[in-house]
């Protein structure tokens, strides 16, 4: 069974803190994605990575960075958290070599910045 896991389901951080959100997939997928989900806005792509150490900006990269040192792990970093980054964050992965075109999602991390 395919699996995407995220390090925390709920996280509360203070304004200005550095925040790390971790995502791990066990499917040997090349592509990994970070989205944020807000009511009425659906999911918006923050960053994605198509290989180790490779990354590309999505639609809303401002205030975020990412790291992919190993194929199975993709981290989202909030360098200095702000209240407008309070949101649900979803990680996903997909197979590029044997494409099924399906993105597999983790359960999400609900981040609150106070």
């Amino acid at each position: 069974d395919v699996k995407v896991t995220q390090s925390s389901r709920y996280l509360v951080k203070r304004t200005g803190e550095k925040v790390f959100l971790e995502c791990v997939q066990d499917m040997d997928h090349e592509n990994m994605f970070w989205y944020r989900q807000d009511p009425g806005l659906g999911l918006r792509l923050i960053y994605f990575s198509y290989d180790v150490k490779m990354k590309e900006k999505g639609d809303i990269p401002e205030g975020y960075s990412v790291s992919r040192e190993k194929k199975e792990r993709f981290s989202l970093i909030l360098e200095s958290a702000s209240t407008n980054q309070t949101s649900m964050y979803l990680c996903a992965s997909t197979d590029l070599i044997r494409p099924t075109y399906e993105q597999y999602f983790g359960p999400g991390t609900r981040l609150t910045v106070t």
């Binding site: 994605f48 996903a92 997909t94 999602f105 359960p107």
Partner: protein, 114 residues
């Protein structure tokens, strides 16, 4: 730029009744189109996808969708709704390699009355 509109934010339907969720997209080329479902507390799961060929596609859980190029629409339907179909539904259009970069609509929340 591509965009996806889901005109209905909420839909309430009686169990056993039919369901149709609307999706309109804006995209210059032939789109990759997807419907995902998010059950409460869960990540997103792919219901169905369209790339080419037969414009009526079948998915999991008894759902189907019809691609209408002339109307730029990809509406999701189910003939008879079950209480377990209560969830949020997202339409998405993909671009890039294997349609990997997704743009999501704002979502439609479906409530099922007994």
């Amino acid at each position: 730029a591509q965009s996806v509109t889901q005109p209905d934010i909420h839909i309430t339907v009686s169990e056993g009744a039919s369901l149709e969720l609307r999706c309109n997209y804006s995209y210059g080329a032939t789109p990759y189109l997807f419907w995902y479902v998010q059950s409460p507390g869960q990540g997103l799961q792919l219901l169905l996808k369209y790339f080419s060929g037969d414009t009526l596609v079948q998915g999991i859980k008894g759902f189907e969708a019809e691609f209408k190029r002339s109307q730029s629409s990809f509406n999701l339907r189910k003939p008879s709704v079950h209480w377990s179909d209560a969830a949020e539904y997202f339409c998405a259009v993909g671009k890039g390699a294997a349609g990997n970069k997704l743009t999501f609509g704002g979502g439609t929340r479906v409530l099922v009355k007994p």
